[in-house]
Amino acid sequence: MIRSFGYNEFLFLLSAVQWTLALSAIAFIGGATVGLFVALGRTSTIKPIRLFSTGYILLFQGTPLLMQLFLVFFGATVMGIDLNPWAAAALGLTLNASAFLGEIWRGCIQAVPRGQWEAASALGLRYPGLMRYVVLPQAVKVAVPPTVGFLVQLIKSTSLASIIGFTELTRAGQIVNNATFQPFLVFGIVAAIYFALCWPLSLLSARLEQRYAAPGR
């Protein structure tokens, strides 16, 4: 018995959006926290720390996100931890986001003119104060547009959590499609919902970029 796509199916899709958003939010907050340290490590003057951060970024940017999710999911079992798809997806996406944000923010930290660092240390500021009061506040300004842009990439990435069995928007689309067999309609609506989430962020990112790229910054 094939069901047809109706109001209930649409509501089911809409309610799955909360899981896409929750997963994106967790991965963003976790990724930003770890990513800050990755960026600081990547710009560190201590060579082993710099090498380690570089390797970390290379590893996550040089392998498919899907493989990273699989490794977290199956790796936890190997270590004897029973991780459900939700936790595995959140952990995998957090690690992935931390590498990408780390690399984006590295560029922003390095965009702060060298003279600022030298002036701050000439004034007697040590590394924590130098970063906290001089470099990071200036780097944040440059970092906002690409970070918003990355958020779009992150929301789209959460769709891969469906492959390891977490029911977010894309998985909900598959479930509805299996019941109704109206793939164009179902995945069209799923795509439209993603678009409604991502497009405003893309526009915002582009506008912020224009504003901050204005002369006389």
């Binding site: 079992t77 270590m79 779009v152 793939p183 991502c198």
Partner: protein, 224 residues
């Protein structure tokens, strides 16, 4: 931790994995080449086409860039057959990759076209070169030089994201890994080896592209 690692399943299926890796490379190269052709057409349409054409191309780019690749694959693989177009998973994967990379590459190519200063073209024409010669001797190389780094990193992104087409069981590397996994249950060992293969592919291609860049574009372009 008392798990015993056992890589026999990987060793026994080594040929099969290599075949999958080869198909991943073929799919990615094929999608990149066709996608570039799409992108060049779209970039030309976007910079010098009539308004409706520009509008359609913009809509194409925005829709592709703001929806997940996985959903695009599902739309093509499950959606097209309902319109009577039957596709094998490999062809559906190729089409999805072309459509996807075409949108991203259009923006890159457009930036390349716009990076050429009008004055250079005018100077070439003033020196008596015909338009094709201007294109060949003045526009082409600097434009390629501008887009090359972005296009090559786009290719590597494409190759890595091609693992997602395993969701419709195309025969590429990740699907091969899934198949071996479901027969041997050695999931962790298989996926860690496959991840290493992807990393090797990515590093090999970026080294290759860097080498080509040094051979083809190593000249001084300081505009002073």
């Amino acid at each position: 931790m008392n798990y015993k690692f056992d890589f026999d399943a990987v060793a026994a299926n080594w040929d099969y994995l290599l075949e999958g890796a080869w198909l991943t490379v073929q799919l990615s190269l094929g999608a990149m080449i066709i996608g570039l052709a799409v992108a060049i057409l779209c970039a030309l349409g976007k910079t010098s086409g009539p308004k409706p054409v520009r509008w359609v191309i913009n809509a194409y780019i925005e829709v592709i860039r703001n929806t997940p690749f996985l959903v695009q694959i599902f739309l093509i693989f499950f959606g097209l057959p309902t319109m009577g177009i039957r596709l094998s998973p490999d062809i559906a994967a190729l089409i999805a990759m072309v459509v996807n990379v075409g949108a991203y590459a259009t923006e890159i190519i457009r930036a390349g076209i716009e990076s050429i200063q009008k004055g250079q073209i005018e100077a070439g024409l003033a020196l008596g070169l015909r338009p094709l010669q201007v294109f060949r001797y003045i526009v082409l190389k600097p434009a390629l030089r501008t887009v090359y780094p972005a296009l090559t990193s786009q290719f590597i992104l494409l190759m890595l994201s091609s693992s997602v087409v395993s969701a419709i069981s195309a025969d590429e590397l990740t699907s091969v890994a899934n198949n071996i996994q479901s027969q041997t249950f050695r999931s962790f060992e298989i996926y860690i080896v496959v991840t290493a293969i992807y990393l090797c592919l990515a590093l090999m291609f970026s080294a290759l592209f860097a080498g080509i860049y040094r051979l083809a574009f190593a000249y001084d372009t300081d505009r002073r």
